[in-house]
């Protein structure tokens, strides 16, 4: 993840210093505050954080579907080098679906309840790729087979309410894939599903992305899910990125106290601790964020400079980046934890 400078070759999506503001009665909410990341072709990037950390807002800004009160105030979103922030809606409409598509958390509210699922899948190819009705239907059937919907010829004419949660999510995936996008954005696609169905959907997504070469941006709060499906992870806290890097490095050896807190507070199936270690305090207000590092009021390693200096994401060796000024202390603490275990 480059914090600045030219994107490496093979980069499909680049987000540069993105700022999203929401006007509310309480004041201006800094929903996304200077977020930069990039995604290479065929790569799966996990964007993790708690509710209110700005991860979903970042994703919606990328797709250009922010709520009415929110707008991108500065920054660039480059898809194949084209800055989406400055393009007109008509052009965004052409890009959405064909180059970029999204899978939502709640398939029941994202699907049209009064349209047969086959035609919902066929709609993209018909409208965006100019397929004839018959050819689009053929394409929909093929997609239904690819995402593992049994008996597609019969299910084509079914409505979303006739499907189970897992099958509906398969329909969403088929729609997302229908125009062969380069980037698929996923907003907690498995949170509403059972663990056995989540397992099926994650494996399906990983396989389809490998087959089609599409990149994945995967927003979730569930660290083990990120570990299963993503190669890289970026951690968000208080509308900013606080750490990024390869999944194995970041989750097993965090370089930011917040990431460390997240890992330690989540029950891990393979490692039963005496008690879980919660992160003290509450997430910061995004109307009046604390000065300096946003995590400093909750941080156990806080120093004087954390309260005053801005903490941008700093690029470090090994393709990792952290916003923590004293990340070495995280390393020491992790070493002490391991010595104890």
């Amino acid at each position: 993840m480059t914090a600045a400078g030219a994107a490496p070759a093979g980069t499909v999506l680049e987000v540069r210093d993105l700022h999203v503001r929401i006007t509310s009665r309480q004041g201006t909410v800094r929903a996304v505050d200077g977020v930069s990341f990039d995604v290479s072709a065929g790569e799966a990037l996990g964007l993790v954080g708690e509710s209110g950390s700005g991860k979903s807002m970042t994703l919606r800004a990328v797709l250009g579907v922010l709520p009415a009160e929110a707008r991108v105030t500065s920054g660039e979103i480059l898809l194949d080098g084209v800055n989406l922030v400055t393009r007109p809606q008509s052009e965004l409409n052409r890009i959405r679906g064909t180059k970029m598509s999204m899978i939502f958390q709640e398939p029941m509210s994202a699907l049209n309840p009064v349209m047969r699922v086959g035609w919902q899948i066929a709609e993209g190819p018909q409208v965006r790729l100019g397929f004839s009705r018959a050819r689009a239907a053929e394409r929909a059937l093929e997609l239904m087979r690819r995402v593992g919907i049994p008996d597609p010829e019969r299910r084509f004419r079914a409505y979303p309410h006739e499907f189970s949660g897992g099958m509906r999510q398969r329909v969403m995936i088929a729609i997302a894939l229908s125009c062969d996008p380069e980037v698929i954005l996923c907003d907690e696609p498995t949170t509403a599903l059972d663990v056995t169905i989540q397992d099926q959907i994650l494996r399906l997504l990983a396989r389809l992305c490998r087959e089609s070469g599409a990149s994945l941006v995967f927003v979730t709060h569930d660290l083990p899910v990120v570990a299963q499906i993503c190669q890289r992870v970026a951690v968000m806290y208080g509308a900013q990125l606080v750490e990024s890097g390869a999944v194995a490095d970041v989750l097993l050896n965090p370089w930011h106290p917040y990431t460390r807190g997240l890992v330690r507070s989540a029950p891990d199936f393979d490692y039963v601790r005496e008690s879980l270690v919660p992160i003290p305090g509450a997430p910061p207000s995004l109307v009046n964020p604390p000065p300096g590092c946003r995590f400093h009021p909750r941080c156990e390693f806080v120093e004087e400079d954390c309260r005053v200096s801005e903490t941008p994401l700093r690029l470090l060796p090994g393709g990792r980046a952290t916003a923590c000024l004293h990340y070495e202390r995280c390393l020491d603490a992790a070493a002490a934890d391991r010595a104890q275990a």
């Binding site: 708690e50 897992g166 056995t196 397992d199 494996r203 990983a206 199936f269 879980l276």
Partner: protein
């Protein structure tokens, strides 16, 4: 059959052959056409909660976990079987004293608290109606309950909307504890909360259990949570308990193929290469309106045999593991039958 009593302080709350049905569609037409139009949410469950233990109830959504919990709590009448409390059968309408003994914490603290009552109002009402403490001590008791769950005393005057999700769940726990129950039933108490807040609630439940000697029935789909908190685990599938065992035994030597699949499906933090192999369990659970004949898991089972279609396996233990029960024809067999793959390997 029931798990043998013995270890721990004996059975406190138990279900014997409990079934809960929901009528579906027109019952008149069902009678005319002579077919059953009932959804069998809980279908002949035997389960016991022992004094002082933490028992987990896990399974997919629609497996009947929550319905069973409501029946155990007396919030839903049972259609067959009976529920015993301290060895004594309790009827459809429980006495006030029996109702106090079993209390519940619900999943969503945003909808389970009355928005028009202050926290103090909620607690005072309960304490008065059930005469938990003399009238003069009601307000002191409310404050004690709040401090028990880690909330400041000033919280008595506040409304639920003024609290965060984690704090609301603490209020819900205080409400359940107000009646000094013997059994606390927690139905997915942390699944509506953020990761960093989940830990505080789980730690609170663990410490309350230790301090107050509570028995806990924890309903969860998160097996990592269960492993942290519980002594025994019961696995439910389509309205039936398919396996019960002490936690570590269940996780190290699962006997039912459903349990094996469930364990293989858990996303692990330990990073592996992105797994594109076959999922642990294929397909969706069948509808509880059309429960398969014989073993109800056979439609998704990787080791199903012709026998499974005919015979419904009993929940039974093996001599070498009396505490471990499984409802599978091939459980506790030394050599796995042909086609039995390690969990996660099967196509």
């Amino acid at each position: 059959m029931t798990v043998a009593d013995g270890a721990g302080g004996g059975t406190l709350l138990a279900a014997h052959g409990v079934s809960v049905f929901f009528p579906v569609g027109s019952q008149v037409m069902a009678r005319v056409q002579g077919e059953e139009r009932r959804l069998r949410a809980v279908d002949g469950v035997d389960l016991d909660i022992r004094r002082g233990e933490a028992l987990a109830l896990v399974g997919e959504s629609g497996s009947g976990k929550s319905t069973l919990a409501l029946a155990l709590c007396g919030l839903r009448p049972v259609d067959t079987g009976d529920i015993t409390l301290n060895g004594k059968a309790v009827g459809a309408r429980r006495s006030q004293a029996d109702r106090r003994r079993v209390q519940m914490v619900f999943q969503d603290p945003y909808s389970s608290l009355n928005p028009r009552l202050t926290v103090g109002g909620v607690l005072r009402e309960l304490l008065r109606v059930h005469h938990v403490v003399p009238r003069g001590q009601v307000s002191a008791e409310s404050k004690r309950l709040l401090s028990l769950v880690g909330l400041p005393e000033e919280a008595v005057g506040a409304y639920p909307r003024q609290f965060s999700g984690g704090q609301r769940q603490r209020i819900a726990i205080a409400r359940a504890l107000a009646l000094r129950p013997e059994v606390l039933i927690a139905d997915e108490p942390v699944s509506a909360l953020d990761v960093s807040v989940q830990a505080t609630i789980l730690n609170l439940l663990a410490s309350l259990r230790a301090d107050l000697g509570l028995s806990l029935l924890l309903i969860s789909h998160n097996l990592a949570v269960v492993r942290h908190l519980c002594d025994r685990v019961a696995v439910m599938y389509l309205g039936r308990i398919v396996e019960v065992a002490p936690t570590e035994e269940l996780f190290s030597a699962p006997q039912h193929p459903y349990t094996r699949g469930l364990l293989a499906a858990i996303p692990r933090l330990a990073v592996g290469a992105p797994d594109t192999g076959a999922p642990a369990i294929t397909g969706d659970p069948p509808s509880p309106l059309r429960i398969p004949t014989g073993c109800r898991f056979r439609t998704r089972c990787p080791i199903a045999q012709p026998r499974c279609e005919q015979e419904d396996p009993e929940l039974a233990s093996a001599p070498q593991a009396p505490e471990h029960l499984a409802a599978c024809h091939f459980a506790f067999e030394p050599a796995p039958p042909a086609g039995l793959a390690r969990a996660g390997d099967q196509a």
